[in-house]
Point group: C2
Chain length 198, copies 2
Amino acid sequence: MKTQLSKDALIGKLVDVVYDYGYDGTTLSVISEATGLGKASLYHHFPGGKEEMAAAVLAHSDRWGEARIGALLAGGLPAEQKLRGLFQALEEVHTRSHQLTLMNVFTYGAARQVFGAQVRSRVRAGLEVMAGLLHACGIPSPTAEARALDAYIQIEGAMVLARTLDDLEVFRAVVRRLPDALLAPPSGLTIDQLAARR
Amino acid sequence: MKTQLSKDALIGKLVDVVYDYGYDGTTLSVISEATGLGKASLYHHFPGGKEEMAAAVLAHSDRWGEARIGALLAGGLPAEQKLRGLFQALEEVHTRSHQLTLMNVFTYGAARQVFGAQVRSRVRAGLEVMAGLLHACGIPSPTAEARALDAYIQIEGAMVLARTLDDLEVFRAVVRRLPDALLAPPSGLTIDQLAARR
DNA sequence: GTCTATATAGGGATAGAC
DNA sequence: GTCTATCCCTATATAGAC
């Protein structure tokens, strides 16, 4: 058979594996089993081997961002709806309680040397996008940047706790309450009023 | 020579390596280089091999908790000082911007099967301790539990972002502002007033 | 308690048939 | 485009000398 799996489907499997096992834990044997392809076939698609496969995972994340988030930002919605849509998109891609993130796959060990800088620049770009949205929602500039960083911290932390406690709800609750918390007027609601809004 | 490195010092090296490389990335070669011991010597100290070495890292974390946190909790300080001391202890152990955490080493891939449940129970215990302290500080019970979970989320998330951005300050800022945020009266300060207190 | 040497398995990677 | 077979290297682990 020429093709059992489209390139996109192949990369999709790759993404799942990497986010389950981490970079070092993702062996060619694991990929082979997950995709149904032999090791040599994997090298046909990715001559650069494991490193190129990991790069494909990163590139997949980029494409997803450009498609899903880019379309959202380019659309005619008001800034607040864009921000809320962003968190909705986030909830859509994190569906398993275990499941790592870019930041928890590529920022330590062997992967850090190769991909650390790339991940950093993507995160920085993401922080700017979120701060920009908050600014467009009326949050003054220094506060907007601080809240964007806080948002990332809480998102990543929620994923870590969800994985550790094996409870996806931990992540969902945070993602759902964050938009209101971020959009609160600079001297508005108390943290508990915000928590009660969940 | 009989002993170049005490068992405690040996485990200390082990801890550093595991928190730098993750479970899969921590190879015996890396450990050997970090400790100056040959592989066979490592097996003398840990007959169970890599798994026992990882278990020693977990046990080290337990001992640290019992010593550093246990003493704090057993002491005669008021609850608020105990809580603040807890965050101070946290800042003491996280000294490098890269550096993983228990939750980011043992909760995925091969390690998850072996150590996932242990880490989960330790985190649950930690959550109870923190909620108990908050309760003792006058935070009513459902709020205390929610804030304890939020604290863990922000701590872990801050470590992830600090590692990704290679900036330890990200972590430090969160750890320093958290005590005030957690101790705020249930309908007290706004989130920005809290942020301004950093 | 540490070492050298070695056994065995699995990792990444390639050649070449189909 | 996928496979089988194979290569080399590293990983974990052990035996036995010192």
